[in-house]
């Protein structure tokens, strides 16, 4: 299972990679913004996406919309500091399958990933 992590914070990418490794997912590719994420996705093999919202170049919402324009099925989990109800609804409307607010616990991330892959 190859997972694409898109986040402009290298610290956050590292934390997510660490968490994924602890729950058994070690095949990971990274992008530091939406455009880089699309490039990685284009290289093939990605089966799930974890993306931040606030990023330079192309933000998470634009990224999700671009992904959905070409792939309706791939599970997308948004992990962000945006926690207002209207933000969550906007992300869901753009095509994310589930939503995690930072800071998250490893158990929360595990539960969301497993429910998406379920």
């Amino acid at each position: 299972m190859k997972i694409l992590i898109v986040d402009d914070s290298s610290t956050m990418r590292r934390i997510i990679i660490n968490t994924l490794a602890r729950i058994g997912y070690t095949d990971v590719v990274e992008g530091e913004h939406g455009k880089a994420g699309l490039e990685k996705l284009g290289q093939g093999g990605v089966e799930m996406i974890i993306t931040d919202w606030n990023m330079p170049e192309m933000d998470g919402l634009e990224f999700v919309q671009a992904v959905r324009a070409q792939n309706a099925a791939i599970p997308i989990l948004m992990v962000t500091t945006n926690a207002a109800k209207e933000d969550i609804v906007q992300a869901l409307q753009a095509g994310v399958n589930n939503y995690v607010v930072k800071p998250f616990t490893p158990d929360t991330l595990k539960e969301k990933i497993e429910s998406l892959l379920g």
Binding site: S9, T11, R14, I15, W53, V89, L92, V101, F104
Partner: protein, 178 residues
Amino acid sequence: MDPSEIETVTIKGKGKAKAAPVKPDDPQGHVISELDAVTAVTERETNKVMDQLDLISGLVATQQALITGVMRHPGAQDPSVQDSINQVMAAGKDIQDKVYEAMDLMQFQDITRQKLERIVHHLRQIHDYIVDLLGTGLKSEGERASIGRTIASTGTTPDEKRAHADSVVEEFKRSQKD
């Protein structure tokens, strides 16, 4: 960390009983780039802490492997020795768990960075408003600092506006089914 990086920010932050007049060649980018530097430094230093935690984690894993080897040794088959070794193994696992917890806590860096960026965004809006008002013509792209994230309508959410994500997701999915 290079102390001069923090010192620069600290000194500029202090001693501002009277704000210096804004000169045409000293626009808003000054303060914004200082905040930019703070976020860059904290991200880099957080990654250094993460490096150390990774190192500790690796050392604990090595220790666990060595202890497992010792447990198989004929001289370690005595129940009391095995019991002691098991206690050492359990302590090692506790250390590993605490290392992971510490790594997870490093999320604070990204969260505080985004809060700072939101402040920068508001400072920039105030600056632009004043420039427009006074018509001083300082608002060129070249005078802007490097923070380029899109935070006009996003960013960190004030506590009073925070929603329970799971409830909103469930509600949305139910509405899609109806």
